[in-house]
Assembly symmetry: C2
Homo-oligomer: 119 residues x 2
């Protein structure tokens, strides 16, 4: 029986060597190497995080905040390098989410049997 942690490290290495990760890394480094793109991207991320936190904590989000967020999104969408970065992040998020679904399948199967009222 292979050690679970060895298998996890193999997967980590596979992810690190993957085209998906390498392309994301290049896109990220390109944005981080351009001070004005970096600032725009950081601003976008901060706005997103703030809104998410408010939403999770059930706080109200004002129309002004929604409008500000819309403007920040519009701004980053005009930057080709940031668009590329966000595309690559989306691609890697999909891979990570697929992996997560694959490895939690044994648990899902176990808890899906005879325990239908708890997810």
């Amino acid at each position: 029986m292979a050690n679970i942690y060895d298998l996890a490290y193999d997967l980590e290495k596979g992810l690190r060597d993957s085209q998906e990760f390498q392309t994301l890394k290049e896109a990220y480094e390109k944005v981080m190497g351009d001070p004005s793109a970096k600032q725009m991207f950081d601003n976008f991320r901060e706005t997103q995080l703030n809104l998410q936190q408010k939403q999770m904590q059930g706080e109200d989000i004002s129309e002004e905040e929604v409008e500000k967020a819309r403007q920040v999104v519009e701004l980053v969408q005009q930057n080709e390098d940031i668009n590329k970065l966000m595309e690559e992040e989306q691609r890697l998020n999909t891979v990570i989410s697929d992996i997560s679904q694959i490895i939690t399948k044994p648990l899902e199967e176990l808890y899906g049997t005879g325990n239908n009222d708890v997810q």
Copy 2:
């Protein structure tokens, strides 16, 4: 370069075959096979989930609810099979959390460089 999905399936199989998962499975099936233990466990899980959801949504939790939750915990702690199950769940959660940290390390390293104000 190994395919990421093949590596994820290897890890899934390793997890499924592991002592940790097999022991959890036995403990879970033992509780599910005992109607009164099952009911007690389901009640405990439901109470936990309700409190977690309220907490996440920033809702108030009454003293009565806290007291009810305390009683439910006390009750399940008196059941040896449920205790065993919760221990095994904790053990597997630790493994899953370790795995998750291992495989997201490339991303953590990438985003930890030159982007210190966003986690």
